[in-house]
Amino acid sequence: MNTNIALVLVLAPFLGFLINVFFGKSLGKSVSGMIGTVSVVVSFVATLYFFMQINNTKQPLSIALFDWIQISNIKVNFGFLLDQLSVLWLLFVTGIGALIHLYSFSYMHDDEKMHSFFAYLNLFIFFMILLVVGSNLLVLFIGWEGVGLCSYLLIGFWYKNQHFNDAAKKAFIMNRIGDLGLLVGIFIIGNLFSTLDYVSLKTAITGATNLNTYWISIAAFCLFIGACGKSAQIPLYTWLPDAMAGPTPVSALIHAATMVTAGIFMITRLNFVFDLAPQVQTIIAIIGAITALVAATIGLVQNDIKKVLAYSTVSQLGLMFLALGLGAYEVAVFHVITHAFFKACLFLGSGSVIHGLHGEQDMRKMGGLKKAMPITYITMLIASLAISGIPLFSGFFSKDEILLVAFEHSIPLWVVASIASIMTAFYMFRLMYLTFFNEFRGTAEQKHHLHESPALITFPLIVLAVLATIGGIISLPFPEYNWLNGYLAPLFTKVATEEHGLGSTEYLLMTLAVIGGVVGIAIAYIKYNKQNTVPAEDAAITGFSKVLYNKYYVDEIYNFVFVKTINELSRFFRDIVETSLSALVFGFGKVTNEIGFYGKKVQNGSIGLYLFAFVLGLCAIVSYLFLAQQ
């Protein structure tokens, strides 16, 4: 029974994908969209079933399907593991996935290739489910690469534009750099423990007495590189802002809510490995904090509405990694969930705006949309408040927990994280004010067409806004009301945050955080609402903000250091090494030829010469035979 439902859960989106691929065009847009959406809803329902079951029994379900790969002593099974973590992840993957499918139904309706869009989305959901429910690292790896592939396909969905294709390619390759790390990590784990299965891995590690911590640390580090690639952490984050080339629902689903959290999922899943590698944890925390800060600073000055959200995502992911690095896995998971709600809402809202403006993404050409798009405005406002950490909204609780944990472990990290969250508040409200307040700055033509998006777009917005508001209740900062920690507790070998009540320090910190958020909002209000400043044109940006606007020139540096080097190397190999190797081989032939050329002069047809040589040879042979006998 469970196996069948699990198969339905996994295969429903795949079925949707197949139908859309093969029959999508003939079925028509509405039907194909419907099939895409329904298949994800089916998965969601199946997930709910498992969620109920596991929440009641607290027993993880293991489902083994068939033997897949065999390597030395490891038989890798194609199987699923449904436990608290994976079901929780599935809930918001399929839930938000279903909402976004619904949203895309309307958003993509004008696109002639809507059926393939839904096919890709379904395929993505399928791989994401596989990633989450896989019972071992290799099944996770299937999903891991699969979502990368779908991300590639969806970023490059409008394939006629080579810039979009470049972005897609970049995303795929940067992901693959991480994938190599993950793969190497898997190899080391396989070599160390002879298993890739989570359950037996956990038993092996917890049961073992003397563990090779050196290699475990290296494995953990490699896995972290994998997570960096997928979750856009320094130094592999540059693909995510570029990935905004894809349609907005894709940005919401893949590049904000689900796929980019895969790294956090993996680290949480393997928390028992990372717990054995404290140095790596420190690295994770530091990288997370730096990423949060760097991305936030870049986000301060971006003018493309989706770019702002993209950097905001990177920044938030950095905060999650900070929590992971500090061993507060449940806190990271909590933030993943709330972030999924409000960030998906923000992206969908921005999508609604872009939809309303017929593809305009530059905030300098927006403004004053509050009246024309009230629902979009309100939902986005709620989500912005949530992300800025305003009390009672979900983001407040999750972000506050991260800051608390950071404060407990290290003051500098706390400072960095706090600055990042103040900046978050600032740039989110910069976005809000530039988009929705004051006068419209676009063309008259656009102004004429301004309208609220249809219900299929606003409905998901409303749902997500509601979730962004109330999502915090799953993990309130009071131990007795903290459902999430209790729910996830069986996963973790050690409790990272001691269960404690809220003391005065905590209240102080909370207050500080709130004040920070409010200050950020206030600055944004003064600058962009009161003074009605419009960000300068690209050419007019100077000074440090130019560096920020150009993202610290990281792309250029990467281009120069890696892409250019490798291309030059390729040219060098192709033009110099290949030709010289070839010449070397031909050289052998040439030498033989030359020998022949000079050798043939001896064969000049003069019998006298031949005979002379013959006589000499005869003498030589006879002498040799004779002398040899002596």
Binding site: G605, S606, I607, G608, L611, V615
Partner: protein, 106 residues
């Protein structure tokens, strides 16, 4: 029966053959006229034949003479064919100087 070699000595025959053979070689190298070259070859062949017969007597064995017999057959065939070739060369080139026969060189 008295062996004739007791009076002459096999070594004299060997010397004779060697010198005859060398004369043949010398002739081949020295002369440019194909016919003379051919004759020199015949001299070399005869030097060998002579040695065969001498050793046949030395060993009191008929085999040596049989070989001479075969070698004569070969020589006859060779001369016939060789001279035919020379004739056709002469027809084509108008001379039989071996320096002219260089078409085989690479």
């Amino acid at each position: 029966m008295n062996n004739i070699l007791n009076q002459i000595g096999i070594e004299n025959y060997i010397f004779l053959s060697v010198i005859l053979f060398c004369i043949g070689v010398f002739g081949v190298l020295y002369r440019r006229n194909a016919i003379i070259v051919f004759m020199s070859i015949e001299i070399m062949l005869n030097a060998v034949n002579l040695l065969f017969v001498a050793f046949s007597t030395y060993h009191q064995d008929a085999q040596g003479q049989v070989f001479v017999f075969f070698s004569m057959a070969v020589a006859a065939a060779e001369v016939a064919v060789g001279l035919a070739i020379l004739v056709s060369i002469f027809r084509n080139l108008g001379s039989i100087t071996i320096d002219n026969l260089k078409n085989l060189k690479g």
